[in-house]
């Protein structure tokens, strides 16, 4: 690659070596990993377990798309199909999307970015990973025992009185996963508030930290409501009496309220950390401070705040009062604004920059395009009347996949590629990863754009069979899913390959300004040899240039 279209600056590969001591080889043996308090190792444990669950969830998605290739219910039985999409939803939401960026990249980077040696509570961080694993195993147990077919939303009274599948086991799993997420969020908030290095003021923090801070507030305050709701569902299922059963005087809408009080903020838990990644990537590859830093920072907090007040837009046709539907619709429109602000700020970060197009940047562009569509189609659903036609159809499926997969997963992959050299000390293969990024983008659009159309036609979600006239669009979608599958398999393969054969990255291959790039890669166990003193703003590339110049002169 020529000098003019990349910022990548690797050490001379003939002489470069990996650092002698770093967090990976600091201690040996399986036990040293399983009992570690080091946030970087826990991040790695999370990364591995999350990847496993992503591919389990992805396999279910593949089976679902395969079944939908034909209008007839021919591949699997209806029961199996219902279990497939339930498991796909539960695994992807609770075991992949919620912990994806925070528990892996966030865990690895938040302490380093604020200049701390570790998260505030290393043991609770480890506990969070164990809870995650226990939750995962519990949910897989439910799967192995015969599965569960509630849909990921556990809608009462279906889940409490009408199913004899493993609802309890799954609910226990989700309950535990919730506490795993609470502990991660708690750790982040405390760390960001109390563990910042000297000079690291709030407005010198990378936007990645702001985004995680906002998401963590949602985790800490929202998740317990899900926990108590699941407890009530379990009690109702066991004792046959409860507060959600209309024949006994309960109200099933109460369940919807409590469930969505968590599950709507949960989508912000999923997307906000991804937005943090995008801010870092866009800035680094256009060599420019993020346009409107404060606006982007505050829009994260605004999303977190407004995010608590919009949940009933999941229930517009479910019998909430028309008055409250009005209020929630209005608030939904307001929460869309901070996302628009972010998109435009990122776009204008490019202006007057010096842009290069490495893989993380390609993923980030993918994010911006797909998230824009995902966000604007969200306005369709927030508009009351429109929601009547669109909700519970494939339109909504397409919408949240655009936000979650097109947004969050793209951001996750952008982040993994961006920080891969920092986490492992080695570069991924550039051209192969660009191919993967483009494949993912094409596959994604092919999969989910037809679903908007088939959704407006009226095809309901969670349908095992459908009218024949929807087939062409479904075939397109399945074809796209195949491409998408390839796009997701590629990174696993070449990233694994790069662990041994990748080029040695050096401290700062992207010449980025974050504190994490000023230390060795992979970092030492205590991150910093001495506590850093921060005397520059975030994304200050001039500071970096001066620093590099100084180093060159001292060495020379």
């Amino acid at each position: 690659m020529s000098e003019s279209n990349t910022i990548l600056k690797l050490p001379d590969q003939r002489t470069a070596t990996m650092p002698k001591r770093h967090y990976i080889n600091n201690e040996d043996g399986l036990l040293s990993w399983l009992l570690t308090g080091d946030h970087k190792r826990i991040a790695m444990l999370y990364l591995m377990s999350i990847t496993v669950f992503f591919f389990i969830g992805g396999a279910f998605a593949g089976l679902i798309r395969l079944e939908l290739l034909t209008p007839q219910p021919d591949l699997v039985s209806s029961d199996t199909y219902n279990k497939l999409f339930t498991m796909h939803g539960i695994i992807m939401v609770f075991l992949f999307l919620v912990p994806s960026v925070p528990a892996t990249i966030g865990n690895f980077l938040i302490p380093i970015m604020v200049g701390a040696k570790d998260l505030a509570f290393p043991k609770i961080n480890l506990l969070s990973w164990y809870l995650y694993v226990i939750a995962g195993i519990t949910i897989l147990t439910a799967l192995v025992l015969g599965g569960v077919d509630t849909g990921w939303t556990f809608t009462t009274p279906l889940s409490t009185h009408y199913l004899n599948t493993h609802v309890l086991t799954t609910a226990v799993g989700v309950f535990i996963a919730g506490f795993s997420s609470i502990f991660t969020g708690l750790n982040f908030i405390v760390t960001i508030h109390r563990m910042r290095a000297p000079g690291m003021t709030w407005f010198r923090m990378p936007l990645f930290c702001w985004a995680h801070y906002a998401a963590s507030i949602l985790m800490v305050l929202g998740t317990p409501v899900l926990a108590i709701t699941l407890v009530l569902v379990a009690l109702e299922r066991v004792f046959g009496i409860g507060v959600f059963d209309p024949t006994k005087g309960g109200d099933p809408i109460l369940f919807q309220h409590l469930f969505w009080f968590y599950s709507h903020p949960a989508v912000y838990i999923m997307i906000l950390p991804g937005m943090g990644v995008i801010s870092e990537v866009i800035s680094t590859f256009s060599r420019k401070r993020v346009f409107g830093y404060t606006a982007v920072a505050f829009s994260s907090v605004a999303i977190a705040l407004f995010g608590f007040f919009v949940w009933a837009h999941h229930m517009f046709i479910m019998g909430v009062s028309n008055y409250s539907a009005l209020v929630f619709s209005l608030l939904t429109m307001l929460v869309a604004v901070p996302s628009a602000i972010k998109i435009f700020n990122w776009t204008f970060t490019l202006q007057k920059g010096s842009i290069t197009f490495e893989t993380p940047m390609l993923y980030a562009f993918g994010f911006m395009g797909l998230f824009t569509i995902g966000g604007l189609t969200g306005v369709f659903l927030g508009a009351l009347g429109m929601d009547i036609q669109l909700t519970e159809t494939y339109f909504i499926v397409a919408h949240f996949h655009f936000v979650m997969v097109g947004g969050m997963l793209m951001a996750f992959l952008a982040g993994v590629h961006f920080w891969w050299p920092k986490m492992t000390g080695r570069m991924y293969p550039e051209s192969l990863s660009k191919l993967a990024a483009v494949t993912t983008f094409i596959g994604f659009n092919l999969t989910f754009l037809p679903q908007f159309i088939v959704g407006y036609l009226g095809m309901p979600r969670r349908y095992h069979s459908y009218p024949a006239e929807y087939q062409v669009l479904n075939v397109l979608s399945t074809a796209g899913a195949t491409v998408l599958g390839v796009g997701y398999m590629l990174p696993v393969l070449y990233l694994a390959w790069s662990l041994k054969y990748g080029a040695i990255a050096g401290n700062n291959p992207w010449q980025a300004t974050g504190l994490e790039w000023q230390i060795q890669s992979p970092p030492l166990t205590p991150n910093f040899i001495e506590t850093p003193i921060v005397d520059y703003e975030a994304y200050d590339y001039e500071w970096l240039a001066r620093k590099t110049e100084q180093e060159v002169t001292t060495v020379g």
């Binding site: 910042r196 000297p198 003021t201 709030w202 809408i253 907090v301 705040l305 028309n322």
Partner: protein, 114 residues
């Protein structure tokens, strides 16, 4: 929560958002203890008096007062940093958000369709 930055003192580099440690004395605790006992008596007594709609209001007001006393003194929030105070406030704020926004639906359902 966005106001936290205002309370951060950049000069305090090793321990941001901090409050001087304060030890509450057993004497203060005893006063608090007595207050709580007295108000428990009051709330039980009030329950036996017919006051109409005031009954639940008085009971909840006393309970809230007792909770605030416990939070301020037994839990030392009075002597903590503003960060802790805001945090406690944020918890109750979110709880109120849950209650009011959900009640909005239940109350307005009775207003009929349109």
């Amino acid at each position: 929560m966005s106001e936290h930055h205002e309370y951060h003192d950049p000069a305090n580099v090793t321990n941001p958002e901090h409050a001087e440690h304060h030890i509450v004395t057993p004497l203060q605790y005893s006063f608090v203890f007595l207050t709580l006992l007295v108000f428990t008596g009051v709330t039980v007594g009030a329950a036996y008096v017919e006051l109409g709609v005031l009954n639940p209001i008085i009971a909840l007001a006393i309970a809230s007062f007792k909770a605030v006393v416990v939070i301020l003194f037994f839990m030392h929030v009075k002597y903590q940093s503003r960060l802790i105070k805001i945090t406690v406030g944020a918890g109750f704020f979110t709880f109120l958000a849950l209650v009011t926004m959900t009640l909005l639906d239940y109350i307005s359902r009775a207003w009929g369709l349109w």
